[in-house]
Structure formats: structure tokens, C-alpha cells
Symmetry: none
Subunit: 166 residues, 2 copies
């Protein structure tokens, strides 16, 4: 007896699984739940979601590509196409942190001219590196959300300095 698991095919109906996946993604696009430029879930996530193997998911993605509904960038992911559509890049780590802080400012958790949490607190809270936190704070400054008083701390900018929502 082999230690290997026996492969089992799981017929879930007359429609092939890869077509089910294809239709599910197409439905999300048609319904606007996935907008052009937006990134699709990773292949691994789609495997989980549809309880299918990676091969099967990839078959569906290949069909979606052929249909011009998505495009794929190697080692990056698949996006709702066509490629000339506005690109909606996934935010990087420091951008996610900056967004979280902006959210806190908008919601009043951090009020104008009050001090923001210290660098070390942010490192703890976001589980990020010092460099990443600094990049986030730097972005906040550039955009006018905050200002820094050397050796004192970083403060929330007054409301009239906040960027206009686009």
C-alpha cells in the first residue's frame, strides 16, 4: 500500500468545475463586484474558495484570459482587464498603514493637533518594521495629513490641510 493519497475525482454535476469557476468570476465582474483594474484573489485563495485544485483554477483563469476578461502578470497576479484599463495596484505595506491612520483621523480617533502614536507603538500595533512605519508617516506628511515636530512627535494636521477626497 502506498503512503500516497489516492486521487479522487469529485463530480459536482454535469458542468466542469473549471467552468463553474469561470462563471463565478464572470458573474462577479458583470455584477461590478470586481471592477476593471482590480486584482483577483490569488490562485491559492480561489482553490480554497471553490474547493478545487490549482490546475483546475488555472484552467478557468486561462479561459478568462482568452475571453479578454482578465489579464495576468507573472509573479504578481491576475487583474480584471483589459490591460489598458485603469490599474488599481494593491497597496504596499506602508500604504496600508498610512490608510489605517488616515481612517483613524477621519473617524476622530486622532484629532487635529493631537499627537499620533509613537514609532515604537506603531511598530507593535501594525507588526511592521521601523522603516515601513517611517515610510507611512512620511506619506502622511507629504499628503498633508500630519506634521512632525523634531524630538517631540508627529501630530495630526489641522482640518484645512487635509487633502481633498478624490
Amino acid at each position: 500500500m502506498y503512503a500516497l493519497a489516492m486521487n479522487k475525482r469529485r463530480p459536482r454535476g454535469p458542468v466542469p468545475v473549471y467552468q463553474l469557476v469561470f462563471n463565478a468570476v464572470k458573474a462577479d465582474i458583470d455584477a461590478g463586484r470586481l471592477k476593471p483594474g482590480q486584482s483577483l484573489p490569488t490562485e491559492a485563495e480561489m482553490c480554497e474558495a471553490h474547493n478545487a485544485s490549482r490546475q483546475t483554477v488555472r484552467r478557468a483563469l486561462a479561459d478568462l484570459r482568452e475571453a479578454g476578461l482578465i489579464y495576468t502578470i507573472r509573479a504578481e497576479g491576475s487583474y480584471v482587464g483589459p490591460p489598458d484599463a485603469p490599474k488599481i495596484r494593491e497597496p504596499l505595506a506602508f500604504e496600508r498603514i498610512a490608510d489605517a491612520i488616515i481612517e483613524g483621523i477621519r473617524k476622530g480617533t486622532y484629532k487635529p493637533d493631537e499627537v499620533l502614536p509613537s514609532e515604537s507603538v506603531m511598530i507593535e500595533e501594525f507588526g511592521a518594521a521601523k522603516k515601513t512605519v517611517r515610510a507611512a508617516v512620511n506619506l502622511l506628511r507629504e499628503q498633508g495629513w500630519a506634521y512632525t515636530v523634531p524630538a517631540i512627535g508627529t501630530f495630526v494636521a489641522s482640518r484645512d490641510k487635509w487633502p481633498e477626497p478624490r
Copy 2:
């Protein structure tokens, strides 16, 4: 016709390679060749050792993690676990230097109230950067092994100041 890249898969028996790697590591742990807290080889080294791809090695490591046998710190490595067990991190560069000096103090190479080698000598001796040597000396001060007289030098603390061996 088929000149290009055939036979990428190398079956080495009925047992999947990732399980072979899993078992090899587990055997090392069970036999005490890998002790709790000790660091595992890097993924790249394990690829070499087992002649396997990184994906395969990572699959084995994931299973080992799930089994609670190891834990992994990003950009650092994997350690024999579990994490709540005695955490014996591999000493960092400055800690290794500090340990070496403590060893010298214990053995009498450096005697109480005598001066320790200068920064530049230590840089030479340990092949380390200034920053690293300073971190080591700082640790010695914090633990009570040494004290510094500004502009003069750093001296071995008197024996009653030494930390209790744990």
C-alpha cells in the same frame, strides 16, 4: 522535437519528497541532533541537502509548523519549537561578542577593575563593525559586567556586581 525540458519531476519512490524532508527533520529532532530553540538550516541549504526545490522544502516546513515541531520567523529562519517552549534564539553578532568577553572575565583573562581592550582592538579582534562592538559593550554595562569611565576606558566590574548565573 522534444529537445526542450522534459522530465522535470523526479520521482524518488512512493513517498513524496516533502514527506521525506519532513521525516528527516523530525528524526533529527527526536534523536536530539536538533534541540529546542536551535535554528534549522535555511531553506536554500535544505534544498541543497535534499536536492529538492524550495517549494517542496517549504511544504515540509509548513507541515512541521502545523505539527508544532518548529516555528518560523520571517527573514530570520526556522527554529525547533514550539514557540512557548524555551526560546533559545541564535545569538546575534553583538551578543556573541559580549559572550566572548564575559568568558574572558570568568576565566580571569580580564580581571576586575582592569581595563578592557579598546574599541579599535575589539573591532580588529572580532572582525565586527564599530556599531556592533558598542552594542556588545552596552550589553555588558547593562548586565553589570563592566563600567565605563568617559574618555578613559571601559573596566571590568568588581566581582560582586557580576550577574548571578541563571
